[in-house]
């Protein structure tokens, strides 16, 4: 390879790293949803604002929105960074739904099933959508993922695994304590929701960790 091969005018550099408008839509939806819940007069809706996970979601949505700003070098977020922020938020939304189901706030109506099937659809189709999006971006921008993405994802997976192990041990201890003091085990729906919530929280922690590593690299 020649030393000057691949040299392009400096003006083209910023254009290729322009952040997508889609990266601010999700945070905007979260902020709007939070605002609606906050001003709502319906006690069931207002009850949702009590969840610390919702506050965490708003915080992460804020950081995600902030990450769309170009760094001092003029670089926007990489596809991996955008995905990490989106996944962290999506997983926290799942935790909120699970909390609501466990607490019986969603009731037995069709909305519960719509939310669950909607989320399942996102989970199932997510990897395919992501692969198509990356392939489309690669056609315009060349490489969109590399060894640094793999290293960051490995670090994120380590954090996710540690979090899941800690939560499962803590959850088992709480379960045993509850059973011995109350004389009965928690109901099945709450137990299943707690296990799934632990998985989603662990994944969200991993994605949040990845997002922070990306952010630190780009400062």
């Amino acid at each position: 390879m020649s030393m000057h091969e691949g040299i392009v005018p400096a003006g083209r550099q910023a254009r290729t790293d322009r952040p997508s408008v889609w990266s601010v839509i999700w945070p905007a939806a979260v902020f709007t949803g939070f605002g609606l819940l906050f001003v709502s007069k319906d006690p069931a809706l207002r009850g949702l604002t009590l969840g610390p996970v919702l506050l965490l979601l708003v915080g992460i949505a804020g950081l995600a929105w902030r990450s769309t700003r170009p760094s001092a070098e003029g670089a926007g977020p990489s596809p991996g960074e955008t995905d990490a922020w989106n996944a962290a938020q999506l997983l926290l939304v799942a935790v909120i739904f699970l909390q609501m189901i466990a607490a019986g706030r969603l009731g037995e109506g069709w909305i519960t099933w719509c939310l669950l099937f909607g989320y399942a659809g996102v989970v199932l189709l997510g990897p395919e959508i992501r692969a198509r999006r990356l392939a489309a971006q690669a056609r315009h921008r060349g490489v969109v993922e590399d060894e640094r993405d793999a290293a960051i994802q490995a670090a994120a997976t380590r954090w996710s695994k540690r979090t899941l192990e800690t939560m499962l041990v803590a959850g088992a201890a709480v379960y045993a304590l509850h059973a011995s003091r109350m004389g009965s085990a928690p109901d099945a729906r709450a137990t299943v929701a707690a296990v799934f919530a632990a998985m989603f929280v662990a994944n969200a922690v991993g994605q949040w960790c990845a997002a922070m590593l990306y952010w630190r690299d780009r400062r």
């Binding site: 691949g6 060349g142 060894e147 290293a151």
Partner: protein, 70 residues
């Protein structure tokens, strides 16, 4: 991803080679521009393969680009 003991002269080499842009170097090395930025800032230690790709792009040896700075 941070605090690597490996220092590098990528930024200097880019400017010595016709003010090559970060994107151009990234394209030549088959990585993202964000990775070049992280490398120049000393926040990421590259794999051996990427180190050779960068050195090869500048037509220099690996030790002319990277050095142990700890």
């Amino acid at each position: 991803m941070t605090g690597t003991p490996i220092a590098n002269g990528i930024r200097r080499l880019r400017f010595e080679h016709g003010e090559m842009t970060q994107q151009a170097l990234a394209d030549a090395c088959q990585v993202t521009r964000q990775t070049i930025i992280a490398l120049e800032a000393g926040r990421y230690a590259p794999s051996l393969e990427l180190a050779f790709r960068i050195a090869r792009t500048f037509d220099v040896g690996v030790e002319d680009v990277f050095r142990w700075a700890a």
